[in-house]
C-alpha cells in the first residue's frame, strides 16, 4: 500500500488547497469540502492494476507532483445566459453559481461522485476551478446545445480539473458538448461530470476530446436517471496520450433509458481506456452501450464494462457492445464486457466484443473500385464509426468526425 501512495505535492496539500480556495473567494461550506477532498487525496493511493478497472492502465508510476495544479480554463457558450429571466434556468460557471444557486450546488455537487471515492476524483474535488453548471428547471428546454470548452493550450506540466454539474429537472431537455483541447506540452486532466436526469427529462452529452499528444486524461462521468428519463452520451476520443474515461449510469427510475456510445481513433502510442457501467435498478429500464475503437500505429484500446440488472429491474433490456478494429500489426485491444444479472425477468440482455483486423473482403471490394488501400481504410473506418456519428446531432459534429478520420489516417501507420 505504502508503495503506491505518492507523497503529496505541496500544491495538493490541504493548506495550499484552502489558500487557493480562499483566494477565489469561495464560501465557507465549500472550503470545508475542499479540505476534506485534500485530505482524501493525501490518504488515497493511486489505483493499481490489481483493481480490475485499472488492470491495463498502470498509473502507479505517474508522478502527480510533476503536474502543477492550474486554474482550469473553461469557456461556456450557448443555452440561456446565467440568471436569464426564463425561470430558474442557468448556464454558466459553477464558481459563478456558488452564491445565486447555493442550495442547488451545495446539495448536488459531489452527490453522485463523492470526493473520497478515488485519487483523481479527490484531486478534482479539491482543485476544480471555474467549472460549469447547467440547470434546466422542470419543463425547461434549451433549444441550443451548450458548449463547454476546456482549452489548456497555454499550459505546460500542469494539472487541470474540469468539473461539470448537469441538473435536468422533470421533463426538461438539454444538450451539452464538452470540448477538450491542449497543446503539445505534458498535461494532466482529472475531470468529473455529474448528471442528474429527473423524471422524463432528456439529456445529451457529447464529449469531443482533442487533447494534445502529451495529455493524460482521467475522467469520471456519472449519471442518475429518474423515471422515464433519457440520457445519451456520445464520446469521441481522438487526442491525448492516455484517455481513461469512466461512464456510469444508474437507471433508477422505471422505464429509464440510457445510451453510451464512444469511438476512439488511435495512432502512435495512444492509450484509450473506457469503463462503463449500466446499472439497472428500476423495472423496464433500457440501456445500450457501444464502444468502438479503430487503432493504427502502436495504439491501444481497453474496454471494461459491466451491465448490472438488479433484483427489482424486472423487464430490463440491456445491450453492450465493444468492437475494435486493428489497423496495424502493433495495435492492440483488450475487451471485457461483464453481465451481472440478479433477476430472472430480463427481456433481453446481450453483450458482444470483437477484436480483429478490417474485413479483408471489404477492403478488396473498395480497392477493386479504384480506392488505394489507405483511402479504402479511411472510408471503412468512417463507416465503422457511423453508428456513433449518427448520434452526434449537434450541427457539424458528424461531418467533423469524418474529416478527422480522413486527416488522422492520412498520416497514421496502417
Amino acid at each position: 500500500m505504502s508503495e503506491s501512495t505518492t507523497a503529496v505535492a505541496p500544491l495538493h496539500a490541504e493548506q495550499a488547497v484552502l489558500a487557493a480556495a480562499v483566494q477565489r473567494g469561495e464560501p465557507e461550506w465549500l472550503l470545508e469540502r475542499r479540505a476534506e477532498a485534500a485530505r482524501a487525496f493525501a490518504a488515497l493511493p493511486l489505483p493499481t492494476p490489481a483493481l480490475r478497472p485499472w488492470r491495463y492502465t498502470d498509473v502507479t508510476r505517474l508522478d502527480l507532483a510533476a503536474f502543477v495544479p492550474a486554474d482550469t480554463p473553461i469557456a461556456i457558450e450557448g443555452g440561456a445566459d446565467g440568471d436569464a429571466p426564463d425561470g430558474d434556468a442557468y448556464v454558466g460557471t459553477l464558481s459563478g453559481a456558488l452564491e445565486g444557486r447555493r442550495a442547488l450546488v451545495a446539495e448536488r455537487l459531489g452527490a453522485l461522485v463523492p470526493a473520497t471515492e478515488g485519487k483523481f476524483i479527490a484531486a478534482n474535488a479539491a482543485l476544480w476551478s471555474g467549472g460549469a453548471l447547467v440547470h434546466a428547471p422542470a419543463g425547461h428546454a434549451f433549444d441550443e446545445p451548450i458548449i463547454v470548452t476546456v482549452d489548456a493550450g497555454e499550459l505546460a506540466d500542469a494539472a487541470v480539473h474540469p468539473r461539470l454539474l448537469i441538473e435536468a429537472g422533470e421533463q426538461s431537455e438539454l444538450t451539452v458538448v464538452l470540448r477538450t483541447r491542449s497543446g503539445d506540452a505534458p498535461l494532466l486532466a482529472a475531470g468529473v461530470v455529474e448528471i442528474d436526469v429527473a423524471q422524463a427529462a432528456r439529456v445529451r452529452l457529447l464529449i469531443d476530446d482533442r487533447w494534445g499528444a502529451a495529455t493524460r486524461d482521467f475522467t469520471t462521468i456519472r449519471a442518475r436517471l429518474g423515471r422515464d428519463a433519457d440520457l445519451r452520451v456520445a464520446s469521441l476520443a481522438i487526442g491525448g496520450a492516455i484517455l481513461k474515461q469512466t461512464v456510469e449510469v444508474v437507471l433508477e427510475g422505471e422505464g429509464a433509458n440510457s445510451s453510451i456510445r464512444a469511438v476512439a481513433l488511435g495512432d502512435g502510442d495512444q492509450h484509450f481506456d473506457f469503463v462503463t457501467l449500466q446499472d439497472h435498478v428500476g423495472p423496464r429500464s433500457i440501456s445500450d452501450v457501444e464502444v468502438k475503437a479503430a487503432l493504427a500505429g502502436a495504439s491501444r484500446s481497453i474496454y471494461y464494462g459491466i451491465t448490472r440488472v438488479g433484483e427489482d429491474a424486472a423487464g430490463a433490456e440491456a445491450n453492450q457492445q465493444n468492437r475494435n478494429l486493428l489497423l496495424s500489426n502493433s495495435s492492440k485491444a483488450d475487451s471485457d464486457p461483464v453481465l451481472e444479472i440478479l433477476t430472472a425477468d430480463v427481456i433481453r440482455c446481450g453483450h458482444a466484443a470483437t477484436v480483429g483486423p478490417v474485413d479483408q473482403d471489404a477492403l478488396f471490394y473498395l480497392q477493386s473500385r479504384g480506392l488505394d488501400r489507405r483511402t479504402a481504410l479511411q472510408l471503412l473506418v468512417s463507416g465503422f464509426f457511423q453508428s456513433v456519428a449518427r448520434d452526434l446531432a449537434v450541427e457539424g459534429m458528424a461531418d467533423d468526425l469524418e474529416r478527422t478520420v480522413f486527416a488522422k489516417l492520412a498520416r497514421a501507420v496502417l
Partner: protein, 268 residues
Amino acid sequence: MSETVSESVSEPILEVRDLHVSIADEPDVQIVKGVDLTVHAGEVHALMGPNGSGKSTLANAIAGSPAYVIDSGEVRYRGEDVTTLTPDERGRLGMFLSFQYPTPIPGVTMVNLLRMAIKSRRGEEPSAREFLTELRETLQTLRMDEDFARRYVNDGFSGGEKKRAEILQLGMLKPELAILDETDSGLDVDALRTVAEGVNALHHPGMGILLITHYQRILNYIMPDRVHVLFDGRIVRSGGPQLAHEIESGGYDPILQELGIAVAAAAS
C-alpha cells in the same frame, strides 16, 4: 476456332495467358489450371461452367484479389501486363468486377463510395451537379429508386438489389473491362431483364465484357460473341452463341462426357 477479322482488328482489352491460380491460404490447392482467354473491345464473352469449376476464382484473380495467388501465366489489360498490380491500380486503369457475392460495407453510403471511386479513377472530384445528373440517369436506366444510393453499400440489400448495385457502379465508373460474375443469379425475370438491358445500354464499342454464368438465361438478353466452358480450372470448350443453347438443352454432362472420352483417348 479462328477469330474473325473484325475481332482481331479491335483492341484486345483482356488477355489471359496460361493462368494458374491457387488459394492464398492453401497454396497447394490450385483452382485455375491454365486458362487462355482474349476479350476484344466491343465483345461479350460468356464464361460458363458448373458450380465449383473455378469461374469466380478466375474473375477474382484477374481483379487482383489477395485471397488468391497467381502461380504462373499473366493477365494483360489493354496490352499492359497487370499481373502484379494492386487491385486498386487495376480498378483505376478501368478494370471492373461485379462480384458474385458483394460485400456489405456498413456505414458507407453508395453515394460516398461512388464519389470516392470516381475521384480515384479520374484523379479529381466530380462536380456535385455532374455527379448527381449522372447518378440519376444511371439509376433510371436500372430502374432503381433514388434513395437506394443513400443506403449503406450492400448492407441489408436483397440478392437482386446487390446485383443492381454492382451494375450501378459499373455505370458510374465506366470501365473498359467489365467482369460480371453471376450477375444474373438471384434475379427474377423482370429484374434480370432490367439489369441485362442496363448492361447493354452501358456497353460501348470500347468495352469488353466477360459474363460469368451457369445459366443460359441471361444470354437471351445479352448476346455473347463467344462462349467458353470452364471445368476443373480449364476451358474445355469454346464456341459461338449456339454453345450456350447446347448447354441450356442438355446441361454440362454431354459436353463433359464427350470430353472425358476425348481426353482419355488422347492420353492413351
